[in-house]
Amino acid sequence: MAVSSVQIYTWLERYAGIVAEQKQYLTGLDAAIGDGDHGINMDRGFQTVLVKLAPVRDKDAGTLLKTTGMALVGSVGGAGGPLYGTFFLRAGAALDAKAEVSDAEFVEALEAGLKGVQERGKANRNDKTMVDALAPALERARQYLGEGAPLEEVLAAAADAAEEGMKATIPLKALKGRASYLGDRSIGHQDPGATSSYLMLRALSDSLAALPQRATTTTT
């Protein structure tokens, strides 16, 4: 099986819609422990992404991801811009300009994105950040991939793991970002970055499930 650039575009478009829909929700989570602009910033970013993707939507998957990253870096600001921007830039760079992207290459690209986020934000797991959703998700994806599961199942399992990771941020004390200034007062709140990361992976899983995949090898 392979991942097509149509699937990537569908994912990004779907996620942009979800961010717009959940803008107030994300902003509300951020108001509790941050500076209350996460939904506003992410929505501005993904609306920009849609504009920038329009002229390149027929290009390869790597180009779509890199365009997304540059659009986010240039429009979101705050901490979300560099972090989500880096995620997509690194994922896009990992795919290079490949016309065909295998399941394994796609998961590797997402892993490269996570590595970029960790380098940029210097966050570890349990610091109460987006890493708490992304890291377990990609761990689960790698495991399912290793067991030979089809990509649909791999990504559904990843989204489930991200959801668990997101919920697990509630009892955590923030050790990174503006929420860290609150110390113990950050406990009891779900992290907004982990939440937007979960929504991103759920959108990925849902959008790939909704589209027929392109078979590139003969199945027996």
Partner: protein
């Protein structure tokens, strides 16, 4: 009807929250076109005669709403460019990369970055972009706010008042023709020798949010406030200016610590909504405290230079001086917000 289209006009001198930054930039260049030029999309305020060949470029930036910082400090003897973000939101790497390219006269560029997670990451990305284009870029991070505990368990101390003093002193050094390493070393020294603490009497309204950042009762004050209305050390009953000044100054003095015989630059800063007469009342108490401790305030800066929109309150910054820092503090400066010696 689901939702009536009711819009309440905020009681602020703005047209719309979305246009505030650009409207203000256009006003700045109208008023100070002899000193600066402005580029839009990405938004950058650039010294009129930049790039200057052989001079280290100084670039800073941050969220808007702290005026005159940083755009008001672009000009001779201070910054070469400033990147204004949305109100209280870090600017983006494309702004900083453009600013860096616009002021690079071949001697390299120093980024002055306040210690906030977003600012740090955006400037890091900008530095990577600029280095990719062949520029020499260093960065110095200011983190002088004693109200925030510096530990492994937080994002570290915030950059506040020292940022203004650093931009002036390091700007003087760069203007004198020093190389990038010398300028960077001086910047680190200034940050290491400076400490600040602020307080708020009232909150502020971010236009896009439309409501006060935090609630505070008429008889309360917030000690250790940041420049975005972030909470500080404690919420207490309101005290007299003398008592407030002593709390701020003594906390700052004990932190470095500043010692008997030290010469300092004493900076009493208004948060945006406090009149100058009150800042001088505070300056009087700061002076009395320093004299009592045997610390000599050799230089002063009193006024609203790093603000938090319309917040009322003040901050006290002390910077330990030596011959080098004093010389560059006294050096000529000509910017929209600071001017002497020219």
């Amino acid at each position: 009807m689901a939702e009536a289209a009711v819009t309440t006009r905020l009681k602020k001198l703005i047209n719309t929250p979305e246009t505030e930054v650009k409207d203000a930039l256009a006003g700045m260049v109208a008023a100070h076109g002899d000193l600066i030029r402005v580029e839009y999309d990405p938004n950058v305020i650039i010294r009129k005669d930049a790039p200057r060949k052989g001079k280290v470029g100084l670039v800073s930036g941050g969220g808007s709403g702290h005026e005159p910082m940083h755009g008001g400090y672009v000009g001779l003897g201070m910054l070469d460019a400033a990147c204004p973000g949305a109100v209280f939101t870090s600017p983006t790497p494309d702004q900083m990369a453009r600013a860096t390219a616009a002021v690079d006269g071949g001697a390299g560029v120093l980024h002055v970055v306040k210690n906030y997670t977003g600012d740090i990451m955006n400037f890091e990305m900008a530095a990577e972009l600029a280095r990719g284009e062949g520029a020499k870029v260093n960065a110095v991070i200011t983190n002088d706010d004693v109200a925030v505990q510096d530990s492994l368990y937080t994002a570290g101390r915030r950059g506040v008042g020292v940022t203004v003093l650093l931009e002036k002193i390091v700007g003087g050094c760069a203007e004198a023709g020093a190389d990038l390493e010398t300028v960077t070393t001086l910047a680190k020294k200034v940050n290491a020798n400076g400490r600040s603490m602020g307080m708020a009497l009232t909150s502020c309204i971010v236009p896009a949010a439309g409501k006060v950042t935090f609630e505070i009762a008429d008889d309360e004050m917030e000690l250790g406030i940041g420049i975005h209305g972030e909470p500080g050390r404690e919420r207490t009953k309101l005290k007299s200016a003398d008592e407030i000044a002593e709390i701020l100054t003594s906390t700052v003095v004990k932190d470095l610590p500043y010692k008997r015989g030290d010469e300092v630059l004493a900076f009493v800063n208004g948060m945006g909504g406090t009149p100058l007469i009150e800042l001088y009342v505070v300056a009087n108490a700061v002076n009395r405290y320093l004299q009592k401790e045997g610390i000599k305030p050799a230089r002063w800066l009193v006024g609203s230079y790093i603000t938090s929109l319309e917040m009322a309150g003040c901050s006290v910054t002390l910077l330990k001086l030596d011959a080098e820092t004093t010389k560059f503090w006294d050096a000529p400066v000509h910017t929209p917000a600071l001017r002497w010696g020219v």
